[in-house]
């Protein structure tokens, strides 16, 4: 029986995995490194109304206006992204159940300083599929082998073990530390949900590549201030 092919890190040779891991070692994050987070539709409004919510299963996710987390990137690695389509491609938001729409007129992006570099880890591992027909469920040997091979590559490349962790997540996660778009892919980091640093700013990007500041965070006492 033919083994299913694991995409992302699973499609690389071990030498290519080591090279990919070595590149990740060059993506340094210091306390004053500007980072960005692509916000889902509707999150700007939830930040502005200081929402702290448990959410409602299947309808509205939990939310805390004092928190930012998930997949982020260094601002310096995203300077070529200027339109909603480019941001959505770079961060591969075409995952199952995504709230993003290819035709949405604007996207909102939070820019903030890293402050605590230890909160960011490189997600290395392999992609899985929740579709049984794909034969790539999280526990299949092919997926596990690819994930461990990527972690071995990180060790071979001499990456600081404190800076990465093994993750198995559904495609379009790649497991290589870079998002899946072949042209606009960016080095990604997973940030544990934690405090938004004061001074964080949310920008709006439209199809004509205009970047407008729309909100700034004044800290836990004041929350978000709308700028326009």
């Amino acid at each position: 029986m033919t083994q299913p092919v694991v995409p992302g890190s699973g499609s690389l040779t071990q030498d290519e995995r080591v090279l990919a891991a070595r590149v990740q070692g060059l993506v340094e994050i210091a306390p004053d490194t500007p980072m960005i987070k692509l916000l889902a539709p509707g999150e700007l409004e939830r930040y502005l109304r200081r929402e702290v919510s448990q959410g409602e299963w299947g309808r509205r996710p939990p939310f805390d206006f004092r928190t930012v987390g998930g997949i982020v990137a260094r601002a310096q690695d995203t300077t070529n992204l200027r339109t909603p389509v480019e941001f959505m491609r770079a961060f591969r938001v075409d995952y199952p159940g995504s709230p993003f729409r290819p035709d949405q007129p604007v996207v909102h992006v939070m820019e903030f300083l890293a402050v605590q570099p230890g909160q960011f880890v490189i997600p290395l591992g392999a992609p899985a599929s929740l579709d049984p027909s794909a034969g790539l469920r999280p526990n299949t040997p092919a997926v596990r082998d690819a994930a461990y091979a990527m972690i071995d590559a990180a060790a071979t490349a001499g990456l600081d073990p404190n800076t990465y962790r093994m993750e198995i997540a559904p495609w379009p996660y790649t497991g290589t530390g870079v998002t899946a778009d072949p042209e606009l892919g960016v080095p990604e980091r997973w940030k544990r949900p934690s405090t938004v640093p004061s001074g964080a700013t949310i920008f709006q990007y439209d199809p004509s590549a205009r970047k407008l500041p729309v909100a700034i965070y004044r800290g836990a006492a004041l929350g978000w201030e709308q700028l326009r």
Binding site: Q54, F63, P123
Partner: protein, 148 residues
């Protein structure tokens, strides 16, 4: 029992009393705020009409402790951050672990890139705890365990 759950944010202990901080410390200073009826410590705090709160900006060396607090619990064996707990017991969770595909199988949904969330019943939480990240550790280490 009046202790709020879940807690999230940055908290400083000064002279044995805990106050919430407005944000992370910057340049060795941290700003604390409180909205009590009376000034909790006139030597430290002043009233700010902009903040509608008592404010104190102090050196971090003045803090006994400065921590970033998040609340965590396990749900079906999965490590999670507790976002909010409603009166009716419905509880918002973010998945913190590294097996996101497994979280998806447990009903977590990716709400934005890399954020997996689910609203569950409070009775399904196990090992509820607060996680305190010591924001003064590096400074303390530098002062007490300096590498020659």
């Amino acid at each position: 029992m009046t202790y709020p759950r879940p807690r999230s944010g940055i908290f400083a202990t000064v002279d044995g009393i805990e106050y919430e901080a407005n944000s992370y410390p910057q340049d060795g200073q941290v700003t604390l705020f409180t909205r009590t009826d009376h000034n909790p410590d006139p030597a430290l705090f002043h009233w700010s009409t902009d903040f509608n709160a008592w404010l104190a900006t102090i050196p971090t060396t003045r803090c006994d402790r400065l921590v970033e607090v998040t609340s965590r619990a396990d749900y079906q064996g999965l490590p999670c951050q507790v976002v909010n707990i409603a009166q009716d017991g419905s509880t918002g969770l973010y998945y913190l672990g590294d097996e996101k595909a497994r979280a998806a199988e447990a009903g977590f949904v990716q709400t934005d890139p890399g954020t997996w969330a689910k609203t569950v019943d409070i009775h399904d939480l196990h090992r509820y705890r607060e996680h305190h990240s010591d924001l003064l550790f590096d400074e303390w280490r530098q002062n007490h365990h300096h590498i020659e």
